[in-house]
């Protein structure tokens, strides 16, 4: 059956992918799920209004209630270019679909929504009066209604809403089946969280990542760059068991004191504590050799060297060849602080994919951010590939004029073989031997922060060539 799906007008590329991931979660499918979508007449793909074909109302309700970006899913009773057309459509909608929700012993509420324009209470009432022909027999209950209805209007308001103008006005009326619970974003907002780091993941994005990873109770989720635990908190909210590692011992062990650390963040929200936190290097993970296929999902925000740089063990002077091999004296071993070296993005992602290929169960998901430079001339950016993985979704979030980050969702589709393991080990040694070369190759920091070489005259032109209207990138 076709349902009307209305999204929040933000993070546009994330909306359908989140929806489809959740469809997979509730239908018990691991791989990519592609649903049938249709746009209302004259609408731009970035419009918040979409039609989606779903097998059952229960699935629609589950998806909407769990999602972050679905404002509501509706059973459409009618649509039209004006109220006359809408009335005709609602009247011709089959009675057996309508009457059960209009019965005398029910309670209901009708809300009026508009897109791209705010209307006064008076105007809202006017529009409600036009629905008088619908035989509502139940009682009105605004606070806790049994059935919720919504009248959605989107006029030809011009381009002020950030989207290309809609040529024709379109009015929808439908019964709400489910809607996102955005209250959790209030509960988990970063500004009221006790322990934060410089790159703590925003709560909305962390929940989207958890949804992309199809997190559910009983699953084991791992974050190799755990930091202050902001991603694991979202996973734990959805019932997962969590594990995290970080190379910085200060964040995982100490935090800012006994009441301000990762544990206290979990406690603040009454979530079950992580199964374990450890200090470990993603470049040389401590997992035993026979161990594989333990995690159901790996969710992380790798350090890509713009706001925070990655570190790996080995020592920067050692890897540059400035000093020779160094042996730690026996009497210094117990309190020795090993030096670390910069960790290039290419190597970091290589290690992450290798770890995920080995440690994820079949059908398990790897969800992580990958930075992309927004060059004018660059064609479609290329994303990391791995023989064990299939890329099922990529969603861009623009961070600045120079670069954006893309949330990649990869599903493990093939087992981790000895050949793959061998190839990964060869690559690991190559990274170690050519440390400097790799470090320069993937230097995102200078690309993002170096002064622009574009002349002021030319820059106006350059700006306009990048799509940046508000709707798409807010």
């Amino acid at each position: 059956m076709w349902y009307l799906c209305v999204f929040f007008h933000r993070l546009l590329e994330y909306r359908k992918t989140e929806f489809e991931s959740l469809a997979g979660l509730f239908e018990g499918r691991d791989g990519a799920v592609t649903l049938e979508w249709r746009l209302p007449e004259d609408h731009h793909p970035d419009s918040p209004f979409h039609f989606v074909n779903l097998p059952s109302e229960e699935l629609a309700r589950n998806i909407a209630n769990r999602s972050i970006l679905v404002k509501g899913i509706y059973e459409l009773w009618g649509e039209g270019r004006n109220f006359e057309e809408l009335e005709e459509a609602i009247k011709s909608y089959p009675d057996d679909r309508k009457l059960p929700y209009l019965k005398p012993d029910t309670t209901f509420r009708i809300t009026v929504e508009t897109f791209g324009k705010a209307i006064s209470f008076h105007e809202q009432n006017d529009r409600l009066q036009k629905l008088a022909f619908v035989p509502f027999k139940g009682r009105v209950n605004l606070r806790n209604p049994g059935h919720k209805f919504c009248l959605m209007d989107n006029d030809d308001y011009g381009s002020s809403n950030g989207l290309p103008p809609v040529v024709q006005r379109r009015i929808f009326f439908g019964r709400e089946i489910g809607a996102s619970d955005r209250k959790i974003l209030q509960t988990y907002q970063l500004k009221s969280r006790k322990y934060l780091g410089p790159t703590a993941m925003d709560a909305e994005m962390a929940f989207l990542m958890a949804n992309q990873a199809q997190v559910k109770p009983g699953k084991l989720v791992y974050d190799p760059f755990v930091g202050t635990g902001s991603i694991l908190i979202a996973a734990a909210h959805f019932g997962a068991m969590t594990m995290g590692a970080d190379i910085d011992i200060r964040v995982v062990r100490d935090g800012r004191g006994p009441d301000c650390n990762i544990w206290s963040n979990f406690k603040q929200y009454g979530l079950p504590m992580p199964l374990s936190l450890l200090r470990a290097d993603n470049n040389l993970p401590p997992w035993r050799s026979g161990l594989k296929e333990v995690f159901d999902a790996i969710i992380c925000d790798p350090p890509y060297g713009v706001r925070a740089g990655g570190r790996k063990s080995g020592g920067r002077k050692l890897l540059k060849g400035v000093i020779g091999p160094y042996t730690v004296p026996d009497d210094k071993r117990s309190n020795h602080i090993p030096s670390t070296a910069a960790y290039s993005l290419v190597e970091c992602v290589h290690d992450l994919l290798d770890l995920a290929a080995k440690m994820l169960v079949m059908g398990g998901r790897l969800v992580y951010f990958y930075p992309v430079l927004r060059e004018d001339d660059s064609a479609e950016p290329t994303f990391p590939e791995h023989p064990c993985f299939e890329l099922t979704a990529k969603c861009e979030q623009i961070l600045s004029y120079r670069y954006s980050r893309v949330l990649l969702t990869m599903v493990k589709v093939a087992p981790y073989t000895e050949d793959i393991e061998l190839a990964a080990r060869v690559k690991h040694l190559d990274f170690k031997e050519n440390h400097l070369k790799w470090l320069e190759d993937g230097n995102l920091h200078s690309a993002v922060f170096s002064p622009s070489d574009v002349k002021i005259n030319g820059s106006g032109e350059k700006c306009s060539s990048k799509p940046k209207y508000r709707g798409k990138y807010v």
């Binding site: 009441d259 035993r288 063990s313 080995g314 050692l318």
Partner: protein, 193 residues
């Protein structure tokens, strides 16, 4: 009410098992409380909680909001090995336990059944013995997962025994990976990479 300056009070003993209910600890302070108001900081028996409540002199039994800090569990131990360069057999790591804590954790049978196949049983049995728990059978098969009694024991060994302070020792080289505040430090030295 008269306001008193917080005074540090040592809690000498508290029974961890009976202590927690929804993160509220009932501490019977006995003599330790004396007649001064104070702020409880740490339990010297198990060293694991901090309170935010203040004591009053009227009673020695008070409820406190406390922070539960969880420690390295045996499930983590079972997954890790020593990854020092040249070490062929770094698993299982030996445990040097200076402080062991037991914590009640919600029982989740599905999770246990899922993780069972990934656990090196012998290593788990040995590790739990080192930590003072010897109820686990030496040999197991997957049919035992149907027994609630077995699952409870498995659950306890895997998730409820925590290493608070101590070290994990590489069986081949004897290198110690310290565990402090429950966090194992697995980072290698420069000459071990």
């Amino acid at each position: 009410m008269m306001k008193r300056a917080p005074v540090h009070v040592q809690v000498l003993h508290c029974d961890v098992r009976n202590l927690f209910y929804n993160n509220i600890a009932m501490l019977n302070l006995g003599d330790a409380g004396s007649d001064k108001a104070g702020k409880i900081d740490v339990c010297y028996h198990c060293g694991c909680f901090y309170s935010t409540g203040l004591l009053s002199k009227a009673t020695h039994t008070r409820s406190f909001q406390v922070t539960r800090k969880l420690k390295m569990r045996l499930v983590t131990h079972n997954m890790m090995s020593s990854n020092i360069k040249g070490v062929a057999n770094g698993f299982p790591l030996l445990i040097e336990a200076a402080q062991v804590v037991e914590k009640e954790v919600d029982f989740n049978a599905d999770f246990l059944k899922n993780i069972f196949a990934r656990i090196e049983w012998k290593a788990l049995v040995e590790a739990s013995k080192t930590m003072g728990y010897s109820e686990l059978p030496d040999n197991v098969e997957s049919s035992m997962l149907d027994s609630e009694e077995f699952l409870r024991k498995f659950h306890h060994a895997l998730l409820e025994i925590h290493l608070e302070e101590g070290a994990l020792v590489c069986p081949e080289t004897g290198r110690k990976f310290p565990v402090t505040k429950g966090i194992p430090n697995m980072l290698l030295h420069e000459d071990e990479v």
